[in-house]
Symmetry: C2
Subunit: 698 residues, 2 copies
């Protein structure tokens, strides 16, 4: 009972607990700050109420889905198509993923007014509150993720006495709960936030001519609620899924590559635990002097993330050596390749979307000839920007595969690819903190505006917010890069899973591109991200339309609203966004769950592998295309607002606003949701593998 | 010497000659019609002069490229990496492809004023002139294509006494000339026509407020020249390439599937020849009564194409039986599957882009909330519209593969897929005629407007033109569907080709999706259509920008231009479009030729196969997405101009114009060029196969 492996799993468990304690302590620290004036409290209260109401209803709908799936999985288990653990693990995965989003959002809605208030005292104080809130989210995600994994591991090993291979095979099926929850949260939240944003802008800014975040705009609270339910709760559930998915797929491949050696299974978990220690260490470095420039602020954040990354890069070497010996040191380089690829994709995102570089500047220039050329320019920028990440990920995959010994042992190579994803996500605690503080600062700015604080305060929250855009670019690089690597690892895990099923080996014996079922699977899979992007964009359009009508109605019917004598009915806009986003969230998610099962039943397992490859490749491309087009349009607009090409209110600005509006669902709804989609497809395929092996047509 | 096979190849040769004779006779018939008034002659003369000048310079640039490639190929032949026929066949392929475009454009520029003049007498007469011009183009393309194939076949067989397998292997490499020429013509012509169109519209219609095709607009001649060099010459070269590509890849796969049986090689050629006879027959059915409604007109065109398709479907059965016996009758159903898939993809295109159906009507409705929602709506419509063609092509591929006996003999299955493409293109003579008459009618409308003919004439040319949009949708279905099938067939041919090279069998022994070089190839290949679309869209933007500046300059500097007292300098706009489109055409084409060689040298043959699969899948999706988005925006605008949602000049109309402008490079430049791209990649890979086998890193 008391051997090295058992100690190690305990270290992993401790890492998870430490992360959660750190999150709790940080949350308490945040709560100690003052919320500011009564008006600020009231505004923050409305936002919080709206966000809670949304999440409550979202969870109600999602529960129905989970209950239905639970029954389906129980039936499948009864027919011996699954182990009995799966239905329960499905629920825990979904629960923890949802909880990550919930806690992150909770703290964000408490921190927004506190950040605004702290910014009255100074920039550094504001940064500390916002960043602390981001940290709570970051460490909750990694803590809960690792807790779920380590608890299940201990349960299966110590209570049910399963072998390592059985444990990894069972745990592989757990990801589906987290992935479905993540997709619901991302799609629902993404639709909410963009419907409110577009609705508020189209009527408030464009038609009524009132500034952004003006309290007279009936959709202004909904807009701020949207930042929390979309950018915070959605992102939390999303990254929980990435984190857990990368670890369990690496564990499963480790078992396959190292003939059941449990140490190969523990390596990714241990990397994640060490990552938590390093990340906590890194957060202590994030602070800045008063009167700091934007550059100083960015420096403070970069110091934290870079330092964490460097320590983990150093510590990983002895860990790999210690666990798997000298001959497996190539795995170390796979981890480093993943870390590097994440950073480089982030840099590429920054290059294409930041107004300090040429592409976005040139895009702003295109506004001189109107909105059509702005749109064409943004679309072509996004399409062109796919080349660099493709090259980076290609080199990373090749390096991870061959350095891990893939040429002798293919499984070892695939394990290397999975470890690259784990390496990339190992410092998620702190990268997520630098990412999640952005929406908090954004909200703080809204509250400062609505509460009529000194314009200097708004300037400070804007400085924090604009910085958030740059760190968000890095965060996106990690999210997209890790999604591609994890999807590839899950594809390999799927094949491994199928091979273990009776009759499965024959079902996947021919994965050649010349097998027509593989080819057709490839076509169908590649089509899914297109369809998914179309559905989610349409949903945003429909939901925004209803907000537009409601805002117009209130502006017309409520007397004295425009003079500030009467208050708009904020709640009705929040309610409308909630209803329409929840209604619209169901179809895309159900499509993502049903299609892989149908493809499997028709085309068989080889067709499923083709589908997964097609979806990963085209999903990766479309996610980058949509994120970068959207980001560039957003920043081109900001660049013009900064006084270039005619500045605010000019025709060029109007053209740029059209670009930004098109970019909204691109970068905040469809693009990020595709990252989850490509992993959910694999997760569903893994869970339904036995069904497909037994009942497929081809 | 005098056996059945030799007779059959003579039949093929005869089919080619017959097509050319029919084209010549039809051309003479067209020339007999009167060109109309002196003013009409003058306008038509300017258009013709501009088009000729463009083509002359295009061919000059292309010749340099061909000369350089010729030398490279000669060197490769000297090092035994190619047979000596390839360099010469490369040149003939390019020459005939260019010639197809040239002849088609020549007759179109003679037929435009004649169509306008004939429309003065009546609709039926106008239809006959325009359709005859389209027929010249259609039959020139198929005639020259089959001539090139049959002449080379006879040369290799009778003069060099090669075996069937050697002939097919040599002929497979011939497609690269046609494909490169096609890409140059499509990209160059596509940029020209959209730069002129966008330039003329942005300044003329939007800024100066003069109607379309108004003689005071300095870019109006360039716009009409663009229709000829892009929609006619570009399309001619494009379909020449598809036609030849599908036949030679089917021939090569036939040899592989039927162990060198020359009859399997002759079947696709014979199908093509029979298709010519049926098409000629079909053209006789295209005529309509005077005072015919648009429905009657469409009926007349459909009668011709449907009839040709039905005869070929009937005749194919005895031909397959006669050539390959009862046990190969499954191939017949593969041919039928291809024919049907082409029709169905065309129907799906029509559904998504025609204003008589819901999607485009709903898109028009989105103009109510401005240009941003119009753009989002069009993009999501295009993305969603990929699903149906994917399902159609998937069923077609599966059916063609398994009905041809792919489960016993994989090569027979692949041969079936290639025959499906041949079946789809067998009636190209007449489908192309119904497609190519559109730009002629469009030009005729321009001439009627500029020459100040009776508005009734313009109405008639508009009726012809609008009909052309519907038939063009069908044509697009065939172009996209056949491109995907041919690309798959070429991929199979590539593998076949590599297997025949010393050391090649090992190089492609592992085409599994779990081979990392295949996976990376897939990523890189899928990225290429994105990059290619970005480059071509950018090119249109840049070229249009220069036209905008020139038109603005002329409107400002030429006194009395707006009052009709002075003439604009049309030639300078034509010259500008020529220069910029030719400059911009080089980079995308060179990228398409260099990338497969580089990918091959780095990743090896397995990587190349991955790349081809990735490019085919993502290219198919993007081509459909861009074509359908563009088509829907165009028709939504026309729907509004028809008096819906505020009609012409309303804010809704302005929003729709933005959509249409974005759609222009989508549907007429980037989208169609991608069809060629995916085949050119295979062609280049096939030619450089020996180089890659000998010198690749992996």
């Amino acid at each position: 009972m008391f051997n090295l492996e058992n100690c190690l799993i305990f270290v992993v468990f401790l890492g998870a607990v430490l992360a959660l304690i750190y999150a709790l302590v940080t949350a308490k620290k945040v709560m100690k700050f003052s919320e500011g004036t009564d008006l600020m409290k009231k505004i923050a209260g409305s936002i919080r109420k709206g966000a809670n109401a949304y999440l409550k209803r979202q969870y109600t709908i999602v529960s129905i889905f989970f209950a239905a799936m639970f029954i389906i999985l129980i039936v499948m288990a009864a027919f011996n198509l699954l182990t009995w653990f799966v239905p329960f693990a499905f629920v825990t995965g979904g629960f923890f993923s949802g909880l990550s989003g919930f806690i992150g959002m909770k703290i964000a809605t408490y921190a927004n007014s506190r950040t605004a208030n702290a910014c009255q005292e100074g920039l550094n104080r504001g940064l500390r509150v916002a960043f602390s809130a981001g940290s709570v989210m970051g460490f909750t995600v990694v803590g809960l993720g690792l807790l779920d994994i380590s608890l299940w591991f201990m349960l299966l090993k110590f209570a049910f006495h399963l072998e390592a291979a059985q444990i990894s095979s069972a745990m592989l099926t757990f990801g589906m709960g987290a992935s479905s929850m993540a997709l619901f949260a991302r799609v629902g939240g993404g639709i909410f936030t963009k419907a409110a944003d577009v609705g508020a802008d189209l009527v408030g800014k464009v038609e009524a001519g009132i500034p952004e975040d003006d309290p007279r705009n009936p959709a202004v609270i909904a807009d701020n609620v949207g930042d929390n339910v979309g950018d915070v709760a959605g992102m939390g559930a999303d990254l929980y899924e990435s984190y857990v998915g990368s670890i369990i797929s690496a564990s499963a491949l480790g078992i396959a590559a190292y003939n059941g050696n449990i140490r190969a299974m523990l390596l990714p978990m241990l990397m994640a635990a060490i990552g938590i220690f390093c990340s906590i260490f890194g957060t202590f470095l994030v602070r800045t002097k008063e009167g700091a420039s934007q550059k100083n602020l960015l420096g403070a954040l970069s110091r934290g993330t870079n330092f964490s990354a460097i320590i983990i890069a150093v510590i990983a070497l002895p860990i790999v050596f210690f666990l798997l010996g000298k001959e497996s040191l190539g795995l170390y380089f796979a981890i480093i390749a993943g870390l590097l690829a994440g950073v480089l994709i982030g840099k590429s995102t920054e290059y294409y979307t930041s107004e300090t570089f040429n592409p976005t500047k040139k895009l702003a220039e295109k506004s001189e000839t109107g909105s059509a050329t702005t749109i064409i320019g943004g679309l072509s920028l996004g399409m062109l920007s796919t080349a660099m990440p493709i090259i980076i990920i290609s080199i990373c995959v090749l390096a991870a595969y061959f350095l891990s010994g893939g040429s002798q042992n293919a499984n070892a190579g695939l394990y290397g690819i999975a470890l690259a994803a784990v390496g990339m996500l190992s410092t998620l605690g702190i990268t997520l903190a630098t990412d999640a503080y952005g929406p908090v600062a954004d909200n703080a700015g809204g509250i400062a505006e609505m509460a009529g604080l000194d314009p200097e305060v708004r300037k400070r929250t804007d400085a924090l917010d604009s910085l958030g855009n740059t760190t968000a670019a890095t965060g996106k690089g990690f999210a997209i890069g890790s999604a591609a690597l994890t999807a590839l690892a899950l594809m390999a895990s799927y094949i491994d899973k199928v091979s273990g099923i009776e009759g499965g080996k024959e079902a996947i014996s021919n994965l050649s591109l010349m097998n027509p079922t593989v080819l057709i699977g490839l076509f169908v899979g590649a089509c899914l991200p297109f369809v998914f992007a179309a559905l989610t964009m349409d949903s945003v359009g429909k939901a925004a339309q209803s907000v537009v009508l409601e805002v117009r109605r209130q502006l017309k019917e409520i007397n004295g609203l425009m003079d500030g004598k009467a208050e708009p009915d904020y709640a009705s806009c929040v309610d409308l966004c909630t209803k329409s986003s929840l209604r619209e969230m169901v179809v895309p998610t159900v499509v993502a769950i049903v299609v892989p099962v149908v493809v499997g039943l028709v085309l068989g397992c080889a067709g499923v592998v083709g589908m997964l490859a097609g979806a990963t490749v085209s999903g990766f491309l479309i996610a980058i295309f949509m994120s970068n087009s959207g980001g560039a349009w957003d920043n081109a607009k900001k660049y013009i607002e900064g006084g270039n090409h005619g500045g605010k209110g000019s025709d060029q600005h109007k053209a740029a606003v059209v670009g930004d509006t098109v970019g909204d669902p691109f970068k905040d709804t469809s693009g990020p949701a595709i990252n989850i989609l490509i992993k959910l497809l694999s997760m569903v395929s893994i869970v339904f593998a036995a069904l497909v092996v037994n009942f497929s047509i081809f």
